[in-house]
């Protein structure tokens, strides 16, 4: 019996035991380092007013294009705003949009994927058709079409439609992977048992199947935070995402930043490093999480 169980392709080794974090850091040192970077970023993003030395919107015409110095670590931009403070505040923008859109996209994708695997038949075919259609768009092209369609709607200082635009391209990609994982769960005896017990479809999907595809879901969710941050930066860079005066990394690189390649290279270098570091950390963390949770799983 033990042999059968170990041969089954289920993947829920989500360690409940104590010291899981320690065990993770021992097995995945690179993952632990990236976790620290993410932690620092989250701290900066949650409490920017305590970390940032200046107000990110403070315009100081006496300090235009100032080079990095003790007062302004990363220099100042064309309006004399402190770049270090703008990067700290920008991490809030990146994290809010990254987490929100990745969560919305992955959650919808997961529900679609599980439903597709659970119901099978015609529902499966239709969902897969829909997924195929969405997959025929490159990520940024789909996001741009949604941006063109929905325009801007700001709620609590966050552009909701931008989050939707970034979430939609994530949906089909998660749906596909979760469907594959859910198909292996669907044939498990305990699902048959639940069906035999007469539980409703809704209950079986959310109580019995969803918990068993948590591992691939978590991996996809983390990996897509990285993608979402990158996508937000690209859209803001194109002038179609976050708009001035909000501090956002991609926005700091757009527009007139390119006019100062020579005079103020720090305007280009630091925001780019911030984007790369954040995306790098989430990618590496997702990678390590995958190796830790399920070495056979491939994205």
């Amino acid at each position: 019996m033990a042999d059968v169980a170990s041969a089954l392709p289920v993947s829920v080794p989500l360690a409940r035991r104590r010291g899981a974090l320690l065990e993770f850091s021992r097995q995945q040192p690179l993952g632990a380092v990236s976790f620290v970077v993410i932690f620092v970023m989250m701290f900066a993003g949650l409490l920017p007013q305590f970390v940032a030395p200046y107000d990110p919107l403070d315009i100081d015409f006496a300090q235009i294009l100032g080079a990095p110095s003790w007062e302004h670590w990363f220099g100042t931009d064309a309006f004399g705003r402190d770049i270090f403070s703008r990067i700290i505040w920008g991490s809030r923008t990146a994290l809010v949009i990254g987490f929100a859109s990745s969560f919305i996209g992955s959650a919808i994708g997961a529900v679609l994927g599980i439903a597709s695997a659970y119901f099978g038949g015609r529902i499966d075919t239709w969902i897969q058709r829909f997924v195929d259609v969405l997959l025929a768009f490159p990520i940024i092209v789909l996001a741009l079409v949604v941006v063109a369609a929905l325009r801007k709607t700001v709620v609590y200082g966050v552009d909701v439609n931008l989050i939707i635009a970034i979430a939609i391209p994530i949906v089909p990609r998660v749906a596909r992977v979760v469907r594959a994982a859910a198909l292996t769960v669907n044939v498990m005896p305990y699902i048959d048992a639940a069906r035999a017990a007469g539980y409703s479809d809704q209950r079986i999907i959310f109580r019995h199947m969803a918990p068993n595809v948590v591992a691939p879901f978590l991996i996809m969710f983390t990996a897509f935070i990285a993608q979402a941050i990158l996508l937000e930066a690209s859209l803001s860079f194109l002038g179609l995402g976050v708009t001035e005066p909000t501090a956002a990394w991609g926005l700091m690189l757009s527009g007139n930043a390119a006019d100062f390649y020579r005079e103020a290279p720090w305007m280009v270098i630091f925001p780019g490093v911030a984007i790369s570091l954040a995306v790098f950390a989430f990618n590496l963390y997702g990678d390590s999480l995958r190796d830790y949770l399920d070495p056979r799983f491939k994205v």
């Binding site: 259609v133 025929a136 768009f137 063109a148 690209s234 280009v268 790369s276």
Partner: protein
Amino acid sequence: MLRYTISRILFMIPTLIGVAVLVFFMLRIVPGDVVEVKLRGDGGNVTQEMVEMERKRLGLDKPLLYQFGDWMVGLAKFDLGKSMWTDRPVIEEILIRLELSLEVAILATIFATLLSVPLGTMAALFRDTWIDYLVRIVTIGGLSIPSFWFGMLIIMSLLFFNWLPPITFTPIYVDPVANLTQLIWPAMAVGYRYCAVTARMIRSSLLEVMNEDYIRTARAKGVFEKLVVSRHALRNALLPAITVMGLEFAFLIGGLVVTEQVFNLNGIGQLFVQSVARNDFMLIQGMVMMIAAFYVFINLVVDLLYGVFDPRIRYG
């Protein structure tokens, strides 16, 4: 093989119709169209009559389903309609920019192939050594560094040597040197990610193949390790890599959208961003259809190539 190919081509049609429906109706969910950007954009004095007249001229006053039918009939005849901004045929707008974008894409592919095969192979052969870790960091870097920022860094380093690539586009058959000195840099900027994705794929599929029985057999026969890798392992490991390369090639347009902006290249990517900013529905729809058709087509080519590269796969 022929039957399989034909059925695959026919299968492309429902997907493309789905794309057409999606993009057409999505763009029209929220009111607002090209006329507003065109006439009101400058804040000029425009009467409601003028707006209505322009809408009528562009056919935007007709019922949605009528507009959709009109567009679909055009699509069936490979007519993508006219740009609502410039009034020139969409196909023409795309074609004049296609050469540049396609060349950047091809250069990026060459760049990615040349680098990713050795990187991926080394990482797999020296698994869990510092080489593997280095490749892992370099490739995750490729997935993380935004291509537009990488492009900006390239421009900045070129400026450091007081040199800038030419600004105007010269076709490669007119002046190969001027052409390459302009386009090699954006190709590098988009190629880095491409290379990273492929190298990771090569590494993981090579690791899988190296555990196969036939590799052990080859070693037991006393085949040189070099030959085992190049003849037995790499040949089999390249298949998944080809898939990834094909799909990434079809999606290179995504990288071009931002990179062309950095290098100020008048290509497909910049056209797309412009048409989104201008609400030029016809142009957006036409380009999305073209990109989707290209993606589906590349998918097909990759599937058919499988049969060529792997004799075990034969389609009935």
